[in-house]
């Protein structure tokens, strides 16, 4: 359920920041960004898009951390430790 797609904010559309243009692999659409009011969105931010709404911001930091972690999976000892550290805290 709930197909959601990461897209990049390329433009904020109105004064009250209700709408923004996002781009997904060269495809653009106007979406509603009211759900990210608190955090605020800016051009360049990545967001998850679902049925024309931005649902959450996508964190590059977290993404890099995940990929780093997985890359180290075969560096065994270290990996075990890290993966355990990745447990939710």
């Amino acid at each position: 359920m709930c197909l959601a797609i990461p897209g990049r904010i390329v433009e904020l559309l109105d004064e009250n920041d209700h709408f923004a243009v996002v781009e997904v692999a060269g495809v653009r659409r106007k979406i509603n960004v009211d759900l990210l009011k608190q955090e605020g969105v800016r051009p360049g931010d990545w967001v998850l898009i679902h049925v024309g709404f931005a649902m959450s911001k996508v964190s590059e930091e977290q993404a890099q951390a995940q990929l780093r972690l997985l890359a180290m999976l075969d560096e065994e000892a270290q990996a075990v430790e890290e993966v355990q550290g990745y447990r939710f805290d």
Binding site: C2, L3, I5, V24, A25, G26, V27, R29, K30, V51
Partner: protein, 344 residues
């Protein structure tokens, strides 16, 4: 005439019956083929081939009802010419002549018609084929959507080729003339209902020039061709797999898909393998001649993006599988129904 067995059991025609996927096949195989059967009937092939005094003549016809009638990179009229030229090309036939019939909606702006006929004239000139006849009917306002065009084509099959699913052998290579899905996604976006924008253009074009290059180079190794229009590459290859009794394997990484097509498909939950192309074709060639075939395509203007996308296997019969780099595989079926966005 012996009473033919109609196996088509759907009670009502839906859009899916014209979408080129499973429902279309059901209608054609369940109703049209049994009732109209005869030795030459083309069935699901692009064009029928007919012997006459030692010549092999190719005949094909398609109706064009695309909405909107003008879209980035093309128009209904242009499509109507290229589509029929390409269906001739797919059986190895040089196009000789086209016919065009028009069903016009009363109230159609004459300028709109003129634009479409001009597009047809230009496309016919580009493809090097004359439009030698046609017909015009006008239906009441509201009984058509602007205009529908039907084109029929006559071609002369190159004596050097003999194309058929039955000629396909395990080990043969599957070539694709260029990136897929441009047309389908362009038209989907041009309808405006989804409010998506991308700088995509339909790939509509005549492919005879590419086919000719292929024939010149590897006529003996050319087994089968198909332009993956409605239903896309997945449907075309599923039909091949069934008709030839082989399995088809595609290499996910090798499939050429433009970024924007990939993006639109991600957003809409669609598979680019089900999206229509109007200026690309699939060719199956003998393995030994695959390299030469690819080179011939790439050397021909418009064929630069041709690539090897898969191969024929003995098994599993009747399926198309996509193999990913990391070892995963999935079966891709024919299109079921019209491609519908998956959203929630």
């Amino acid at each position: 005439m012996a009473e033919a067995t109609v196996r088509f059991r759907d009670t009502c025609i839906e859009l899916a019956h014209g979408a080129g996927g499973k429902a279309s096949r059901r209608l054609i195989e369940g109703l049209f083929l049994p009732l109209l059967r005869n030795p030459t009937l083309a069935g699901l092939a692009d064009a029928a081939v007919l012997e006459l005094e030692g010549l092999r003549l190719a005949l094909t016809a398609d109706s064009f009802v695309v909405k909107p009638i003008v879209f980035p990179g093309g128009s209904l009229g242009e499509l109507a010419i290229n589509g029929t030229v390409n269906d001739l090309a797919m059986v190895g036939a040089r196009p000789l002549a086209l016919l065009a019939t028009f069903i016009l909606e009363a109230g159609l702006d004459a300028g709109v018609l003129e634009t479409q006929v001009k597009a047809m004239a230009q496309a016919a000139e580009r493809a090097g084929v004359p439009v030698v006849g046609g017909d015009t009917k006008v239906v009441e306002h509201g009984k058509a959507d602007s205009l529908y065009v039907t084109t029929a084509g006559l071609g002369l099959v190159d004596p050097r080729v003999d194309l058929s699913p039955k000629a396909v052998r395990p080990g043969d290579q599957v070539l694709l003339s260029g990136p897929i899905g441009d047309h389908g996604v362009t038209v989907l976006l041009a309808r405006g209902e989804l409010d998506l924008e991308a700088s995509l253009r339909s790939d509509t074009r005549p492919v005879w020039f590419l086919v000719e290059a292929l024939i010149e180079k590897v006529a003996s190794g050319l087994r089968w061709m198909r332009d993956p229009t409605r239903g896309g590459v997945a449907t075309a290859l599923n039909e091949l797999a069934r008709d030839a009794g082989v399995g088809v394997v595609l290499f996910e990484e090798a499939l050429p898909v433009r970024e924007e097509v990939r993006g639109a498909c991600e957003i809409l939950g669609l598979d680019p393998l089900h999206i229509a192309c109007e200026g690309q074709f699939l060719a199956v060639v003998a393995k030994e001649q695959g390299e030469a075939a690819l080179e011939a395509l790439r050397r021909t203007p418009g064929g630069e993006e041709a690539c090897l996308v898969g191969e024929i296997r003995a098994e599993p019969v009747g399926t198309v599988q996509v193999l990913s780099r990391y070892g995963g595989s999935r079966v891709v079926d024919m299109l079921v129904g019209d491609p519908l966005p998956r959203i929630c």
